[in-house]
Symmetry: C2
Subunit: 301 residues, 2 copies
């Protein structure tokens, strides 16, 4: 990857952010109590699993551009990670992608059972919106409403879930590059875009700044997805913590399959540079966000 | 049922409210478009199915106590009905209650498929919160935040989904009356309670009025659930549109099974009178809400 996007302090920044997000999740997720304790256990199992917290990092870093308190930003980061975790729990179900492994551990329905996994995913989604709407997230209720509506737009039928529907319907079909690009923009892109935008919402930033961060998130998300598909093709199960080659075996449409790995990698690198370009006006403060664009296309897991 | 709670104009009021809710749902649900059209079709199938709209009626009627515009109240009613519809779609799944019929028609996963039903339920939940957060629901964003947080608290791990978890774990086990009462308060009671409270939130009512409506909703919900279990025991599949005797066959814990039908019916009637009693201070305006308390324990379907 373009050396100008590399930054040796990114791994530390990512690890620090992951710690902050993990702490917020631990505080905000329900405790296992009463006869329904199994539900909270499954919610915690699916969420507190040492993920990279890419989305949470985006929320924290973009919020810091506007001087937002880390306490508020961490709540938003945690809400986004809960929403993301719910989508993984449901995507892994037998009726969906039927995946037994998630980040190298049994997926939620394997560790518990299908009914518990469905309910845990449902309750994680609910809790994500609840956290955003609560007064501790922002003193201005209008900001909280914009966060709820923004996350919902990214996650719903015209966003993530719509993308997952297309993905299910497309299995074994031949999609062309524009169709795959739209599918991935919905399925993973919209939530990554919202994560990058969320700092601007928390910071009550002007529209142009918000739009630049959204554009950064959009291009970053597209680059990330191609890199993820390259990893699925090239990585091993140990490296990725997911069943290797699973998407290809399921006939999943990816840009890697359509363009071939070399052109796909070039496309991902172009998108990463484009993502970083949207941050020019944010100066030195956006250093980690620029470095992240380089990281997502060079990572090995 | 106690004749003092009967009102011959209730059926018309219910039908009128159901029409208003149906219209709002039709406007607010996504249109089937693009390669993901199947998702919107399933969301509409699961929601626009001519239900009684008890929860929507409660939102509309309680909002009218405070002079809230019907346009705003109808959005809240529709959001609550979307949340309720999502819960039915997921509850009917093979891994959950495995029910093929819902209101006399194939349940969502039978009419479509399991993956589509999971996703349609997910997107219905998302859309419910999105509608509440949007500016058209209330001019004051604080009211919108309270609606989002209130619905989430009713629907999440400490509410509806928590209740469904206990219900799944309790199958074939012997719960006692207090345990069943708590299960049902979570599983169905909390959402009915929130529906009755929502008018007070929309109307920016004082806390005592809000608490009275919440108490009304809580007792009404408990009465409703016992009546529902009596119907499951005594009704036919044609009358209820659900597989008759299904809950008993599954060993589901109900107050009817523990107390016997006669004592359960007496308990439901007591709760209905108690519900109506909370409305004393609201005078003639709350006539339909009082009549509803009588209706839920005397209905045949």
């Amino acid at each position: 990857m373009d050396v100008t996007l590399a930054d040796s302090s990114l791994p530390d920044a990512l690890a620090r952010a992951a710690g902050v997000v993990e702490g917020a999740l631990d505080t905000l997720l329900p405790r296992p109590e009463g006869p329904e304790a199994r539900l909270a256990e499954a919610m915690r199992y699916a969420t507190l699993n040492g993920g990279k917290r890419l989305r949470g990092f985006l929320a924290l870093e973009t919020a810091s551009l506007f001087g937002v308190s880390q306490t508020c930003a961490a709540r938003v980061a945690a809400a986004i990670e809960m929403l993301h975790a719910y989508s993984l729990v449901h995507d892994d179900l037998p009726a969906m992608d039927d995946d037994d492994l998630r980040r190298g551990k049994p997926s939620c329905h394997r560790a518990f059972d299908e009914a518990t996994a469905i309910l845990a995913g449902d309750a994680l989604q609910t809790r994500a919106f609840e956290v955003l709407a609560e007064a501790d997230t922002h003193s201005d209720p209008l900001a909280r409403c914009e966060l709820v509506a923004g996350l919902a737009a990214a996650a719903g039928a015209r966003g993530m879930v719509g993308g997952q529907m297309i993905d299910m319907l497309a299995e074994g079909q031949r999609l062309d590059a524009p169709e795959v690009t739209r599918l991935q923009a919905l399925k993973t892109g919209r939530l990554i875009q919202f994560s990058a935008e969320s700092g601007a919402l928390l910071g009550r930033a002007q529209a142009p700044q918000r739009h630049l961060l959204a554009a950064y998130g959009r291009d970053l998300g597209a680059a990330f997805q191609i890199a993820d598909d390259l990893l699925d093709t090239e990585g091993t199960t140990e490296e990725t913590g997911k069943t290797a080659g699973k998407d290809a075996a399921a006939g999943k449409a990816t840009l890697v399959a359509i363009l071939g790995p070399e052109r796909a990698r070039a496309q991902a690198e172009l998108l990463a540079r484009q993502a970083a370009g949207h941050l020019d006006g944010f100066g030195e403060q956006a250093r980690m966000l620029r470095a992240l664009a380089g990281f997502v296309v060079s990572r090995r897991s």
